[in-house]
């Protein structure tokens, strides 16, 4: 525990707000509310993090197992499925033995989680894209599912606020599917990427742009610009990529109004006896296993989509027997995660540039915004919605060089000029994809665990089939040879973009949250993370999650000022 603002026991007071989770959204909630003068308790299930444990400049040969540690595989068999969970940093990820969940036979789901101050913002992919009304109002356009209760005009000013603070590098394109934002200067493209951009535009009229990423290309808000060392997921000693502990949480603490409580594994929300109001949360101390309570006038869940909903499902009362704030029955349903598993790779023989171990490492790639089922493309015959590509092109060492001996050594160094595109597709919101409490399964703190029931459907499979063939077609247009195509569907969870399970809406019978992320049922209870999403779009969602959080906080602050909480 630290940062107690009155010099009193942090558990002997009533806060204006308790925020559960210190990641991308929780950090914003703590910052906005505390800077507005509210007394905030910020709860994090993991420990604090220190820049001293960052390892982005440590070569693999200094590690005992050179980043192939069997210890990671043993303690984090699920987390290891994420590329960012490595021998360098695996303690940031949950220990899977302590944090179980179950899935039905034949329907695996991989759930990647961090429990440490900052959560997944420490290791995230940093790609940052706005949604447009083509996404928010998709149901009106193709008849599937529900529209969001908010429009782009509602979110746009909040995207501005978030982007200006976070620092997003990118290039404006004027693309109908991908609104431009407040960009820092774009990163440069390689020769191969420029060739691909030009030829794909000429042949198909599609946009290839440099990735939009939460990485500084110039000094910004007291943080230094990127020094292009490469592996952001191991931390950044110059804080050049956005992570909450060194930005939003730091600001919240500086306000003097925020008390940070680490190692607080929240079990459930408490309700005030006799009134339909939340009175705070109960948590288990991660290290001592002691059960403690934090009292607050409002409760804000930013624990990650599935964790926030798990807390509500574990907070049932006599009035809410199927989960707190679940009079609609929708809580836990409409789970989404972008579908991945399709793309193509090849080599560009036009380029002779050799790989160079001393080349600056650009922590960003290229992006192809959605081009299927757009207002100008017309409707596709086999699927609704669409996908975007992330990718890149450049010289690489060829560790797949043939043979052995001196010629193998030479082949590795000669390398190849590689190009690739990988798709992220929209995951349709379906009632059948849901989470519930597994009554027979508890985590190491005795808190009932989740049963996750999700599979991708026919539309997702059709998207991936098209995405594989289309990626190959685009690489071919760029002159690629030896093209290899993937057109499969990976297990849900692989995109690490879990969304939904407490969706927002205007109708309290069909949704859990109001358009301001307040539960319809309990007026001082909020869910301000990805759980609120109505549809997934195909863009990486963190930027939108942060904008939605800031918007919801504005609303909550306003109500506090009107004494309406």
């Amino acid at each position: 525990m630290s940062g107690n603002f009155w010099g009193q026991d942090p558990l002997q007071q009533t806060y204006d707000a308790v925020v559960v989770g210190s990641g991308a959204t929780g950090g914003w909630a703590a910052k906005q509310l505390s800077e507005a003068g509210l007394k905030v308790a910020l709860l994090e299930a993991g420990r604090a993090v220190s820049p001293k444990e960052f390892t982005e400049h440590m070569p693999a040969y200094k590690l005992k197992y050179r980043d192939h540690s069997p210890e990671v595989v043993r303690t984090r068999p699920v987390q290891k499925q994420c590329y960012a969970c490595m021998e360098y940093n695996y303690e940031w990820f949950v220990n899977d033995l302590e944090n179980p969940y179950s899935t039905p036979p034949g329907k695996p789901f991989t759930w990647q989680r961090l429990r440490i101050l900052g959560g997944r913002s420490l290791v995230w992919g940093r790609q940052s894209y706005r949604m447009s009304d083509n996404d928010l109002k998709a149901a009106s356009r193709d008849g599937y599912g529900d529209d969001w209760p908010i429009a782009y005009a509602d979110l746009s000013p909040y995207y501005d606020i978030v982007e200006k603070y976070v620092g997003i590098t990118g290039a404006a394109e004027g693309n109908e599917m991908l609104p431009d934002g407040q960009f820092l200067p774009p990163m440069k493209m390689s020769c191969g990427e420029i060739l691909m951009r030009d030829r794909v535009k000429a042949k198909f009229g599609r946009t290839v742009t440099i990735g939009r990423a939460a990485i500084l290309t110039q000094n910004h808000n007291g943080r230094l610009q990127c020094h292009y060392c490469g592996p952001c997921e191991r931390g950044c000693s110059t804080f050049s990529y956005f992570s909450s502990p060194f930005t939003t949480v730091k600001d919240a603490m500086a306000s003097g109004n925020c008390t940070l409580i680490t190692n607080a594994v929240v079990a459930h929300v408490n309700m005030d006896a006799g009134s339909n109001k939340a009175s705070g949360v109960t948590y288990v101390d991660r290290l001592t296993r002691q059960v403690k309570e934090v009292r607050a006038k409002s409760v804000i869940l930013c624990a990650q989509a599935l964790e926030s909903t798990r807390i509500l499902l574990n907070s049932s009362t006599r009035e809410y027997p199927n989960g707190l704030a679940n009079s609609s029955g929708a809580l836990g349903h409409y789970l989404m995660d972008h579908v991945v598993g399709a793309g193509a790779s090849g080599r560009l023989p036009d380029f002779k540039t050799l790989p160079n171990a001393n080349e600056p490492a650009r922590p960003n790639g290229i992006y192809v915004p959605r081009f299927r089922n757009t207002p100008t493309s017309g409707k596709h015959s086999r699927f609704i919605r669409g996908y975007g590509y992330q990718g890149g092109a450049g010289p690489e060492f060829n560790f797949s060089a043939e043979g052995y001996g001196a010629s193998l050594k030479k082949g590795v160094k000669e390398g190849l000029y590689a190009a690739s595109l990988g798709a992220f597709g929209e995951s349709l919101a379906r009632w059948d994809n849901y989470i519930e409490i597994d009554r027979d399964l508890k985590d190491a703190w005795g808190i009932p665990a989740l049963h996750i029931n999700m599979s991708h459907g026919d539309n997702e499979a059709a998207l991936m089939e098209d995405a594989g063939a289309t990626a190959a077609e685009m690489l071919e247009a760029a002159g690629a040879k030896d093209i290899r195509v993937q057109a499969g569907v990976e297990m849900p969870g692989m995109a690490i973009h879990e969304l939904g399970t407490a969706r927002m809406g205007n109708d309290p019978k069909k949704s859990v949250l109001t358009p301001f992320n307040q539960t319809h049922d309990v007026k001082n209870l909020f869910v301000m993370d990805g759980a609120s999403f109505v549809s997934s779009a195909c863009q990486n969602p963190t930027l939108s999650m942060m904008a939605i959080t800031v918007r919801a906080c504005d609303h909550l602050i306003d109500r506090f000022h009107k004494s309406d909480v």
């Binding site: 390892t55 210890e71 179980p100």
Partner: protein
């Protein structure tokens, strides 16, 4: 199946096992809370000299297997104008990893190494490590390239067992070599972690050779 896939396969089995007995797993986990919650890397441990000691002994391999691996790695990535796999002590690193790996993974490695000896004995009546360098080279060459089906008759090739073992051993040796300090130098790394901003394409518009 490459090495990463093998790790992933063991991961998934491991996850199923871990999730199979939740209560037991939770209790075990509670009992074994780590004293420090930093990874060795996060606490600044430097293990780069650990394997170079004069008193080194294998943890997993026996003497014959270790000597076989040294001979094989020297052939796979020989010293040229730069040091090779033998100088990089790849056998010691592979032994260290094997010692901590799952039994199936260990067995798969020994199968591949044993296949090499089996073929050596079949063709030359002696184990691989005792062959002349020329014979070792001839034997390895016979596995090094995949055998494709006939382009004339359209006949598919039978499963190429020897090449499969070759690729498994090669991947182990390459991983060990290119992750070593010698391997980093081989790729030309100057030891600096940052090299200025990424400049990208600097060619004039329309000329990106």
């Amino acid at each position: 199946m490459n090495r990463r896939d093998m790790i992933r396969a063991s991961v998934i089995t491991g996850a199923a096992a871990a999730l199979g007995s939740p209560r037991g797993a939770a209790q075990n986990a509670a009992a074994q809370a780590a004293p420090s919650e930093l990874t060795p890397a996060g606490s600044g441990v430097d293990a780069s000299k650990d394997l170079a000691g004069p008193g080194w002994k294998p943890l997993f391999l026996d003497e014959h297997q270790n000597e076989t691996l040294i001979a094989l790695s020297d052939l796979m990535i020989p010293a040229t104008d730069t040091p090779g796999a033998k100088e990089a002590l790849v056998n010691r690193y592979i032994d260290l990893v094997l010692a901590a790996e799952a039994r199936d993974t260990q067995r798969a490695f020994l199968n591949s190494l044993g296949y090499l000896d089996g073929e050596s004995i079949r063709r030359y009546k002696t184990a691989f490590r005792y062959l002349s360098r020329e014979d070792q080279d001839d034997l390895l060459h016979s596995f090094a390239y995949p055998k494709n089906g006939s382009g004339w008759t359209g006949e598919a090739a039978p499963p190429d067992v020897g090449h499969g073992h070759f690729e498994a051993l090669k991947e182990r040796i390459m991983t060990a070599y290119y992750s070593s300090q010698i391997g980093e130098k081989e790729l030309g790394w100057d030891g600096a972690f940052a090299h200025g901003p990424y400049q990208g394409c600097e060619h004039p518009e329309g000329d990106h050779k």
